[in-house]
Subunit: 191 residues, 2 copies
Amino acid sequence: MNHFDWDHSFYVDFDLAAGFSEKAEPTRRYLSQMKDMYYDSAAAEKILKTEDPLIYEFYELGFPEREGDLAFGTTILYPGKVGNEYFMTKGHFHTKLATAEVYYTLSGEGCMVMENPEGDTLEMPLVKGQALYVPRRYAHRSVNTGKDPLVMFFTFQADAGHDYGTIETKGYHKMVVEKGGETAVVPNPKW
Amino acid sequence: MNHFDWDHSFYVDFDLAAGFSEKAEPTRRYLSQMKDMYYDSAAAEKILKTEDPLIYEFYELGFPEREGDLAFGTTILYPGKVGNEYFMTKGHFHTKLATAEVYYTLSGEGCMVMENPEGDTLEMPLVKGQALYVPRRYAHRSVNTGKDPLVMFFTFQADAGHDYGTIETKGYHKMVVEKGGETAVVPNPKW
């Protein structure tokens, strides 16, 4: 996975609007891999009978998990819904909990849903041309509330680590849904 | 300087092409503040007799120098030359030497000039739509070799610190000049 020389500089392309990269490696997440994360599991099963949509993909570099290095790449989150819940990334805590992350939105619109281990929640807009700061200690999931792909350039400490498990068990405290034609942040009934 | 809540998320605008921000604070560096960094000091003095050009500006957020946080912003480096040496940033080592930095070029073209304390040098192109990795332990200075502003979105560990002094004494081992209509990286005669 690690084709880049982290001790002697390198460059890598990321399309400034679409987010795609020729040099970086894509990881793709389809609905079948995360169907249990959506509240309306019947709606997820119904979609999966006819297709397995690509929810998001991210381009990363196989970085070394070393102190002082930075990991970076792009995430492309597609528009769509499962029931009335918008397409979203799995989201994660950092294993080294007190490490932040920066998301610079290159195109599209959406929402970053965050929560810390104490259950404090934060929801912030993701808007083209704005950088969003995910503070230390907050799990973070991006949600596409628009009609076009949501594209973000992200950076975090390379030794932060990803902890998906903690948040997979019950999901986030909040979910982002379409309600009467509007975007709404509502409590997750599983909590 | 610190208007942002680093413990509870915030967002800040950075124009995706021009780099300007309304919410972040600009710092501006004029030729008079860095005239001794250019090799051709007579050319610098000659320019300063009639004007004091803005060489570059950067938009930052007054970040807390805490472990786990990230600093980020944009740099806008204007086109021009002092003698045959292209406009450039001061450049710096990180005080916490073994910390990297990511530069994502939003527009323009140029070159990143890097060197470590042992005197090993690296020069890499800065190209719109490419992210450049400045490895740990390398001082770094960007140079505008084009005709338009060179605009970069950068991120680094907030506790990295900036050490300008070390590199100010004698400058970098290499300089970037126009030579016979071409861009050339040449040894700095001061070394």
